[in-house]
């Protein structure tokens, strides 16, 4: 089906199911329970999960297949965001033109950067891409302020021209929509103590993720994908086999740049704001980390990696000492304070520490990233099952 083999089809179906039922899966704890703090099923975070998933899936096409480590992909995400927000300011709040233009702009920009950077390989390539993205950031933050909004970024305003949209009603605010469907529209469902949110923006972003993921599988399994792996494996052999590695690598670079642009456009569509920080080198570094954390070159790894990092950033950082004290209130006072004092450095403002430790633990214990971990678990599980079968 969909021209996929059985295994890939299974992966795709898993991703589709995960995306469809994310509102349930991410809200496993009753709303009133102390553990509700760990619920991640609210629209903004769910949107970020899938958007950064798209970013990482695209990045993996370049890094995972060709082995070229770009340290500048955030620039394409940023360029996509700026393009999208300008569409919303000038043309319409409908997200379709914004997303299309963001992919196009990011594609053109990545073509330019890739064309220059791919003259070099290895670390020299990484530094070239880093340099381009840092230049984009520095300029966007300062001298390009009239175009980028600089420090304060860009948001749609009531008095923007918006040629295609009619004048806003008195008191209305411009909202991103898909032919009238508001991105922030949500449906709530309460089931007993649980509550689940179904957000239109999330499902639109999820649809893009599924599409992107499907495309990425197709690319992985295509002759083109094989060529990209050949680039990583042995460029010399490739050249003497009559193949030109450069257009292949450049194509991969541009495709992943367009994925980044799509992610940037979707970020704006879900949350109408674009700022220069998106292009800072740490943002490029983040997608590298997401991909490695999940598993370089695997299909689903980048999605898992981006989920893990965004979860840390948004959930762990919000636990404060007050919440800790409520959790451990059942303990005797002295013990409560000791436990809180032990955990406190790792949560809330210490979330970076937890993130750093996670990176180290994953890479030390699971060389292939989270996907490797999952595989080991399933192997262990299978082994256990086989054993019990034998015993029978």
């Amino acid at each position: 089906m969909f021209k996929l083999n059985k295994k890939d089809l299974r992966t795709l179906i898993i991703v589709i199911l995960l995306a469809l039922f994310a509102p349930f899966l991410l809200n496993p704890f009753p709303t009133d329970s102390a553990l509700a703090q760990f619920n991640a099923g609210y629209p903004d975070l769910m949107q970020r999960f899938v958007i950064f998933g798209i970013f990482a899936v695209g990045f993996n096409i370049l890094f995972g297949l060709t082995g070229y480590l770009s340290f500048g992909h955030a620039a394409f995400l940023g360029a996509g965001s700026y393009a999208a927000i300008w569409m919303m300011k000038l043309l319409t709040m409908n997200i379709i033109p914004a997303i299309i233009i963001s992919v196009i702009v990011a594609g053109i920009f990545s073509l330019f950067v890739g064309w220059i950077s791919l003259r070099r390989s290895g670390i020299y390539f990484s530094i070239l891409t880093l340099a381009f993205s840092m230049m984009s950031y520095q300029l966007a933050y300062s001298v390009l302020t009239p175009i980028t909004g600089g420090e304060t970024g860009l948001q749609p305003k009531v008095n923007d021209p918006r040629l295609l949209d009619g004048a806003l009603a008195e008191g209305a605010i411009p909202k991103a929509n898909l032919f009238g469907l508001d991105m922030s529209q949500s449906y709530d469902m309460s089931l007993g103590a649980w509550s689940f949110t179904f957000n239109s923006g999330y499902y639109i972003a999820a649809a893009f993720l599924i599409l992107s993921f499907y495309l990425s599988i197709r690319i992985f399994r295509s002759p083109f994908g094989m060529m990209l792996r050949a680039v990583k494996s042995n460029q010399q052999r490739m050249t003497y086999t009559g193949l030109d590695p450069k257009p292949y690598t450049l194509a991969a670079f541009v495709i992943s740049g367009m994925y980044a642009g799509l992610a940037g456009g979707l970020l704006v569509a879900m949350d109408t704001q674009a700022g220069a920080e998106r292009m800072f080198w740490t943002a490029s570094g983040e997608v590298v980390l997401m991909t490695i954390l999940g598993g370089v070159g695997t299909l689903i790894g980048p999605v898992l990696g981006s989920g893990a990092i965004k979860y840390m950033e948004n959930i762990i950082s919000k636990i404060n000492s007050d919440i800790l004290h409520t959790w451990f209130a059942f303990l005797p006072d002295g013990l409560e304070n000791v436990i809180v004092a032990i955990i406190y450095p790792f949560i809330g403002k210490g979330w970076h520490l937890t993130l750093g430790l996670l990176f180290m633990i994953v890479v030390i214990a699971l060389p292939g990233g989270l996907v490797e971990g999952a595989q080991r678990l399933s192997r262990l599980f299978k082994k256990g099952k086989n054993k019990s079968n034998e015993n029978e």
Binding site: I123, H352, I364
Partner: protein
């Protein structure tokens, strides 16, 4: 003319920091081939060695001064460092005043120890792992180190002045015949510049003229062959890592009077140090030093008013622009060896 000399001086000074950091990085990254994202953190830890020594020297007991009040209107508690009790106030004050230079002695063993522990405990297991894994683990380590420092010292910069004797500046221009006040140069920056030259010279001499250095250089070129000769190259690489950490740490120690240290200063220098090493050329110590000074000087020129007026924003991007131009015209940086980290 005078403004050009002025910016060259500034550039040399900026460049000496870049060169020192890049020298440490190139020992680890350019030659051992480990992508060490924790390198900035080593610089930061060096700086906090100075802060820590200052904290130790100023450990105090409190005396209540009834003549003055604190912000709540209670009698003011005045901190008296224990060191005053031991050595008397004058000597005690002098010791505290000189705490930054004293930190060099304090920092060397600590930084070597940190380097050795890092190599033995972590990096060693990653020599043969993909660069991606090295990035993830060292980035994780950098975050952890940074957060530990933040936990104990807070996020704000901590003022760590130079000794009284080196405060202020001298009129370099007047010395060489320009108008007064055209070329001024702070004493401490001169100290930093000389210090960096000494350290760089010492490292070069060490690698060039000692047997240890020869073996290490041979090991960098061809690890297996040296191993076959029955030489324990691993142990030497461990020591090399310790030395790299010490060089970087010392760059941090001496930097604190120039700019007050904070916990994220390592990240500020991380990208820059990679750029310097790569522009200098992978695997080349002299390339790293040369690129450090060159980028420092170019950065200074780009920050001149006349230049900014001509090319707005040039001061924002000069380093990256130069990096791009050099890498496009010289495929392996200024003095890079073939084949290092090109796959």
């Amino acid at each position: 003319m005078d403004s050009i000399i002025l910016q060259i001086l500034n550039g040399l000074d900026k460049g000496s920091a870049y060169a020192l950091i890049a020298l440490g990085l190139t020992l680890i990254f350019g030659t051992l081939g480990v992508v060490n994202f924790a390198h900035g953190a080593l610089f930061m830890i060096g700086a906090f060695c100075a802060v820590t020594l200052n904290r130790i020297l100023t450990l105090s007991h409190q005396v209540i001064d009834n003549t003055r009040t604190d912000f709540l209107g209670n009698p003011l508690k005045v901190d008296i460092p224990y060191i005053y009790d031991f050595f008397g106030e004058n000597i005690g004050r002098a010791i505290i005043d000189w705490s930054v230079p004293l930190s060099i002695l304090f920092a060397i063993p600590i930084m070597i120890a940190i380097g050795v522990i890092m190599e033995r405990g972590l990096i060693r297991h990653f020599y043969h792992r993909p660069h991606a894994d090295q990035i993830l683990v060292t980035f994780g380590l950098a975050i952890v180190l940074q957060e530990v420092i933040k936990f104990y010292y807070g996020a704000n910069p901590i003022p760590s002045p130079a000794p009284e004797a080196f405060k202020g500046s001298f009129d370099f221009g007047a010395l060489v015949g320009f108008d007064p006040n055209t070329i001024i140069y702070p004493y401490w920056r001169l100290v930093y510049f000389c210090f960096s030259l000494i350290v760089i010279g010492a490292i070069f001499a060490f690698l060039q003229f000692t047997t240890f250095g020869m073996v290490v250089r041979a090991g960098m070129a061809d690890r297996e062959t040296v191993g076959l000769l029955g030489i324990d190259i691993d142990r030497r690489f461990t020591i090399m890592f310790g030395i790299a950490a010490a060089v970087t740490g010392l760059a941090g120690v001496m930097y604190v009077p120039i700019n007050p240290p904070n916990y994220h200063m390592g990240m500020d220098f991380l990208v820059l140090s990679f750029v310097v090493v790569v522009v200098g050329g992978m695997g080349s110590l002299s390339g790293a030093v040369l690129a450090g000074f060159m980028l420092g000087i170019l950065e200074s020129f780009a920050s001149m008013r006349e230049v900014i007026d001509l090319l707005p924003g040039i001061n924002q991007i000069i380093i990256y622009l130069v990096a791009i131009i050099i890498l496009l015209t010289r495929p392996r940086g200024l003095m890079g060896r073939r084949g290092v980290m090109e796959d």
